[in-house]
C-alpha cells in the first residue's frame, strides 16, 4: 500500500487521547440502532448498487474503492461515506476513498488505536458513534463534524483489514437497522474490492519486471509457439473428452443410485433382503433390508456370515447349515424355509434362496431372504379358524357346502362327509348325493335342485338320507344363493343332522299320543261307569217296585192299594231314569245340527291342513286329487269334517306298521254319477280282512289295539244323516279305500234319533281320535 498520508501531521497527535476525554461507551449509540424505527428494505436499490459495483470492478478496477464510497453515500443517503484501510504494517488507517462532505479528506487517516476504526476492528462488530471527536480530538479537525457515524468491519481471508463507513453531519439523518444491513452487504463487496486493489497495487509494482521478462521469454518461445499451440489444442480436446466421460459417469452413478434406492425400497416393501457371499474369501454383503430382518442390532454391525448363522433358530440352525454346506460343496442353488431367533426372543419365519455364481477362482453366491412371518401367522390363524370351524361343525353336527351351479363343482366340509358317511377322498357329485337321499324324498331334492338351477334364491328344507346300513338320517338344510365376481351362480349351504332331534320328537309325540289315548280311554271308562250308576239307581227302584207290585197283586187277598202305590213309584222312577238320559244328553250333546252349503274340496283341504303335521310325523306321503266342478252339497260342515278326519287318521293308523313301501295316502274327490259329490281316502296300509268288511261300521267293532270301534260307526251315522253313504273297498294293491258320497241336495234334517245324538258326541278331533 502506498502511504499517502502525511506522516508529519500525524506524528503530533499519535498519543492523543487526552485526559478527560469522553469514554468510548459515552459516544456509542449502537444499542439504539436496533430500536430505531426502520425503513423497509429497498432490495431493488441495493441490487442496482451491487450490480453497478460489480460492473465497475470489471471495467475500472483502479477506481473501484471510490465507486464503492459513492454508492454507499447514495444508498444510505449519508452525508459522507468512505473506506478506511489498515496499512500493511497495521499501525494506521488511511482513508482510501471518500465521497460526500468529507471528500476533501481523502488520503487522510488516523493511527490504528486512536479512532473509531480501531474500536470497530478491536470489537469486530458494526458500531454506531456520535460526535467521536469528544474522545478522539484528532477527528475534531475533520470538518464538518460527524453527528453520527456508522462503521462496519470488513475482512479478507478471515482477517479484518478495514472499515466501511457512513456519516451524518447533522441530526437530519439517523441511521437505522436498514442502513446497517445495507452497509454490511456492501462491506462484503468491499472485501472483494480490497483484494482487487491489492492485486492492482502488486501488479503495478511487478508489471515492469514482468514486461521485461516476457519480452525475453517471447524471444525464446517464438519457435516453440506453434508446437505449444498444437499441444494446447490437443490438451483441450483431451480435457473435453475427459469431462464428457466424467459427465457420463456422473449420470450413470445417478441412475445407479436411483435403482439402488428403488431396490432398497422394493426390498423393504416386500420384506425381502438380499446377500452376496464369496466362498473363498468368506466376505459377505447384506442389503439394508436383510440387516433389518436380522434385527435392529444387525444394522449396526458389520455384515458377517457367522452372525447370520447365529441368528437362525437353534432348532433349525443345524439343518440350515447342513443344507447350505451341501449346496456350497456341489455349487448348487438352494431354497430353504426356517426360523430366525432374534435377540429379545422374537421369532421370524423366513424363506431363503441361494443362487450359485460359479466364477473361478471364486465361488460366489447371491441370495434372497424373504420374511414370511406375517404369512406364517396368517396361515396359522387360518388353520386355527379352520380347526375351530371343523370342531364347531362336528359339535353341532353341521356340515357346510358350496355348489357351483354351472360346473356342478361341489365343495364339502369334513363334517358333511361324516354325515353322509362318504369317503373324503372321493369327490362328491350330485349323483352320489342323490344315491344317499331317501327314496321317498328324492322328488323333493330333485325339485330343489332344479329350482336352484333356475335362478338365485334362498331356501330351507328337510329331507332324509337312507344310509347303506338301512338307517335313516334327517337333515335340515339352509341354502343361500350368491353370484361371484364373474356373475357365476353359486349356492352355499349349511346342513344339520337333526336325526336325534327328529327321533326324540317322534318318540315324544308317540308317548304323548299314547298318553292322551290312555287318558281318554280311562276317562271314557269313568264316564261309562258314571252313566251306568246314574241309570242303574232308578232302574233298581223300578225293578224293586215292579217286583213288590207283582207280589202284592199275587197275595190273597191282593193288596191292590199297595200295588197301586208301587206302580206309581215305578212310573216315577222310570221318569227319573229318563231324566238321567236327558241330563246326559245335555251334558254331552252336540249343538243342533246345521244345514249350510258346503264345498267338499274346501272342507277336505281344511282337514288336510289341520292333520298335515300328524301325517308328516307318521311319515305319510299325502297326495290330493281334488276334482273340479263338484256339485255343492248341503250339510253340517263340522260333522262332515269329523268324518274326513276320522278317515284320514284311520288311514294313517293303518299304515303305521308299513315300512316296505311308501305310506302313500290319496285323498280324492269326484262328482259321482248320481249328481252328488264323492270323497275317498285311499291308504296303502294293512288292508281289510274279508270277514271284517261286514262288521266295520258296527259300534264297538275294532281291529286297532287301542281303538274303541266307535269312529266308523259314528262316521256312518253322520253320513247317513246327510242322506249319504259310507263304504269301504279293498284296493287292488295293498290297503283299503274308504269312500262316502253325498247327494247334492241333501237336506241335513236333524231327525233327532237318540242313537245318532249320542253317537255324534262332541269335540270331533279329540273324541274321534281316541276312539
Amino acid at each position: 500500500m502506498t502511504d499517502a498520508v502525511s506522516m508529519d501531521t500525524d506524528a503530533r497527535l499519535e498519543t492523543a487521547i487526552p485526559n478527560g476525554a469522553a469514554s468510548l461507551e459515552s459516544i456509542l449509540r449502537t444499542d439504539e440502532l436496533l430500536d430505531r424505527p426502520s425503513r423497509p428494505p429497498d432490495y431493488a436499490k441495493e441490487n442496482s448498487a451491487l450490480v453497478a459495483l460489480v460492473g465497475a470492478l470489471a471495467d475500472h478496477p483502479a477506481t473501484i474503492l471510490q465507486t464503492l464510497a459513492d454508492k454507499v453515500l447514495d444508498v444510505l443517503q449519508a452525508d459522507s461515506a468512505g473506506l478506511s484501510l489498515l496499512t500493511r504494517d497495521g499501525n494506521r488507517f488511511y482513508w482510501a476513498a471518500i465521497a460526500g462532505a468529507w471528500g476533501p479528506h481523502i488520503g487522510g487517516g488516523t493511527p490504528r488505536n486512536f479512532g473509531p476504526c480501531g474500536d470497530v476492528l478491536d470489537r469486530n462488530v458494526p458500531m454506531l458513534f456520535t460526535h467521536w471527536e469528544r474522545r478522539y480530538p484528532y477527528l475534531g479537525t475533520a470538518l464538518p463534524l460527524a453527528e453520527e457515524g456508522l462503521l462496519v468491519p470488513f475482512f479478507v481471508s478471515g482477517k479484518s483489514v478495514g472499515t466501511i463507513w457512513a456519516i451524518a453531519h447533522n441530526s437530519r439523518r439517523k441511521f437505522d437497522r436498514e442502513d446497517l444491513r445495507l452497509l454490511e452487504s456492501m462491506g462484503r463487496f468491499a472485501s472483494a474490492a480490497y483484494q482487487t486493489v491489492d492485486s492492482i497495487e502488486d501488479l503495478k509494482s511487478q508489471i515492469t519486471a514482468r514486461e521485461r521478462a516476457e519480452t525475453e521469454l517471447r524471444k525464446l518461445t517464438d519457435g516453440l509457439e506453434g508446437q505449444v499451440l498444437l499441444r494446447t489444442e490437443e490438451l483441450g480436446r483431451r480435457n473435453s473428452e475427459l469431462s464428457e466421460a466424467r459427465a457420463r459417469l456422473a449420470e450413470e452413478k445417478f441412475w445407479l443410485q436411483r435403482s439402488e434406492a428403488f431396490l432398497s425400497e422394493a426390498q423393504r416393501l416386500s420384506h425381502t433382503g438380499s446377500w452376496h457371499l464369496n466362498l473363498r474369501t468368506g466376505k459377505v454383503a447384506w442389503s439394508q433390508e436383510l440387516a433389518a430382518i436380522l434385527g435392529p442390532d444387525a444394522e449396526q454391525t458389520k455384515d458377517s456370515d457367522p452372525l447370520f448363522l447365529q441368528r437362525i433358530h437353534p432348532e433349525d440352525r443345524a439343518t440350515v447349515a447342513q443344507a447350505r454346506a451341501a449346496a456350497f460343496s456341489e455349487k448348487k442353488d438352494f431354497e430353504l424355509e426356517y426360523r430366525l431367533l432374534l435377540p429379545g426372543g422374537a421369532i421370524k419365519h423366513v424363506h431363503a434362496v441361494g443362487h450359485c455364481l460359479a466364477s473361478e477362482p471364486d465361488t460366489e453366491y447371491i441370495g434372497a431372504v424373504l420374511d414370511i412371518t406375517e404369512r406364517k401367522r396368517a396361515e396359522e390363524e387360518l388353520r386355527r379358524s379352520e380347526a375351530f370351524l371343523a370342531q364347531a361343525q362336528r359339535l353341532s353336527r353341521t356340515g357346510s357346502f358350496s355348489w357351483r351351479v354351472a360346473t356342478d363343482e361341489i365343495t364339502w366340509s369334513e363334517q358333511l362327509y361324516r354325515i353322509f358317511e362318504f369317503d373324503p377322498q372321493v369327490p362328491v357329485t350330485l349323483a352320489s348325493i342323490r344315491a344317499r337321499v331317501h327314496p321317498e324324498d328324492l322328488h323333493l331334492v330333485d325339485h330343489i335342485v332344479s329350482w336352484a338351477r333356475g335362478g338365485i334364491g334362498d331356501c330351507e328344507y328337510e329331507h332324509r338320507l337312507q344310509m347303506p346300513d338301512g338307517g335313516v338320517k334327517y337333515l335340515h338344510l339352509r341354502v343361500h344363493g350368491v353370484r361371484d365376481e364373474q356373475d357365476r351362480l353359486e349356492y352355499i349351504g349349511a346342513v344339520q343332522d337333526v336325526t336325534q332331534r327328529r327321533l326324540s320328537e317322534q318318540a315324544l309325540d308317540k308317548a304323548q299320543t299314547e298318553l292322551a289315548h290312555m287318558a281318554r280311554v280311562s276317562s271314557l271308562g269313568v264316564l261309562t261307569a258314571s252313566i251306568a250308576h246314574e241309570v242303574n239307581q232308578p232302574l233298581a227302584g223300578i225293578i224293586n217296585n215292579a217286583n213288590t207290585c207283582m207280589r202284592m197283586l199275587a197275595a190273597s187277598p191282593a193288596n191292590i192299594e199297595g200295588a197301586r202305590e208301587t206302580a206309581r213309584r215305578t212310573i216315577r222312577d222310570a221318569n227319573r231314569a229318563s231324566d238321567v238320559v236327558t241330563r246326559l244328553r245335555t251334558l254331552f250333546g252336540k249343538k243342533d245340527v246345521s244345514a249350510e252349503p258346503v264345498d267338499l274340496n274346501e272342507i277336505a283341504q281344511e282337514v288336510i291342513a289341520l292333520s298335515l303335521a300328524q301325517m308328516q310325523r307318521n311319515r305319510v306321503v299325502l297326495r290330493t286329487e281334488l276334482g273340479d266342478g263338484l256339485p255343492r252339497i248341503t250339510g253340517d260342515r263340522v260333522q262332515l269334517q269329523q268324518v274326513i278326519l276320522n278317515l284320514l287318521l284311520n288311514a294313517s293308523d293303518a299304515m303305521s306298521g308299513i315300512d316296505d313301501r311308501p305310506r302313500t295316502l290319496v285323498v280324492r274327490t269326484v262328482a259321482d254319477t248320481g249328481g252328488g259329490a264323492q270323497l275317498s281316502v285311499q291308504d296303502a296300509g294293512v288292508g281289510l280282512e274279508p270277514q271284517a268288511l261286514g262288521r266295520l261300521f258296527e259300534a264297538f267293532y275294532t281291529t286297532k289295539a287301542g281303538g274303541m270301534g266307535i269312529g266308523l260307526s259314528v262316521s256312518r251315522s253322520i253320513i247317513e244323516r246327510h242322506h249319504g253313504r259310507l263304504w269301504a273297498t279293498p284296493n287292488d294293491g295293498p290297503g283299503a279305500t274308504f269312500s262316502f258320497s253325498l247327494p247334492c241336495t241333501a237336506e241335513a234334517a236333524a231327525d233327532g234319533s237318540p242313537a245318532f245324538r249320542i253317537a255324534a258326541v262332541t269335540d270331533a278331533e279329540h273324541v274321534m281320535r281316541s276312539l
Binding site: 261307569a529 250308576h533 242303574n536 239307581q537 233298581a540 227302584g541 224293586n544 213288590t548 202284592m552 222312577d573
Partner: protein, 123 residues
C-alpha cells in the same frame, strides 16, 4: 205273631229307600231305612238289625267304611251290599271282606230273597 227279623237299609238313593221296605215286607222282613251310614250308626237299630242292606258308594262314609266301623264296635251284622257300579272286580273283593252277598242294581227280588235268607239263617 212271629217277630219279623229287622233288615236295615242304608242307601243314599231315595228310590231304593222307598221301594225296598215294601218288597222286604212282602218277603217277610221288617225294614228300617237310613240315608247314610252316619244316620244308621246314630240310631238304636244296630243291635236289633239282623241283616244290613248296604249301598257301597255314598257321600260321607261309604259302605265298606261302615262295615269297618261295625267290626271295630264288635257288631257282627251280616251285610248284603248293593251297588250301581256293576264292576265284577268289586264283588269278590267284598265277599272276601266278609260280606254275605253283593248285588248289582238293578237286582231281582229272588236274588234279594236268597241273599237275605243266607244272611239271616246262615249265622
Amino acid at each position: 205273631m212271629v217277630v219279623r227279623p229287622l233288615v236295615s237299609i242304608v242307601d243314599d238313593d231315595e228310590s231304593v229307600r222307598e221301594s225296598l221296605p215294601d218288597l222286604l215286607a212282602e218277603l217277610g222282613y221288617a225294614a228300617e231305612t237310613f240315608a247314610s251310614a252316619e244316620e244308621f250308626l246314630a240310631s238304636d237299630c244296630i243291635d236289633r238289625t239282623r241283616c244290613l242292606i248296604l249301598d257301597m258308594a255314598m257321600p260321607g262314609m261309604s259302605g265298606p267304611d261302615l262295615q269297618r266301623e261295625l267290626t271295630r264296635r264288635r257288631r257282627a251284622i251280616p251285610i248284603v251290599y248293593i251297588t250301581a257300579y256293576g264292576d265284577d272286580m268289586v264283588r269278590p273283593h267284598l265277599l272276601a271282606r266278609g260280606a254275605t252277598e253283593c248285588l248289582f242294581k238293578p237286582f231281582s227280588d229272588t236274588a234279594l230273597r236268597d241273599a237275605l235268607s243266607s244272611a239271616c239263617l246262615g249265622r
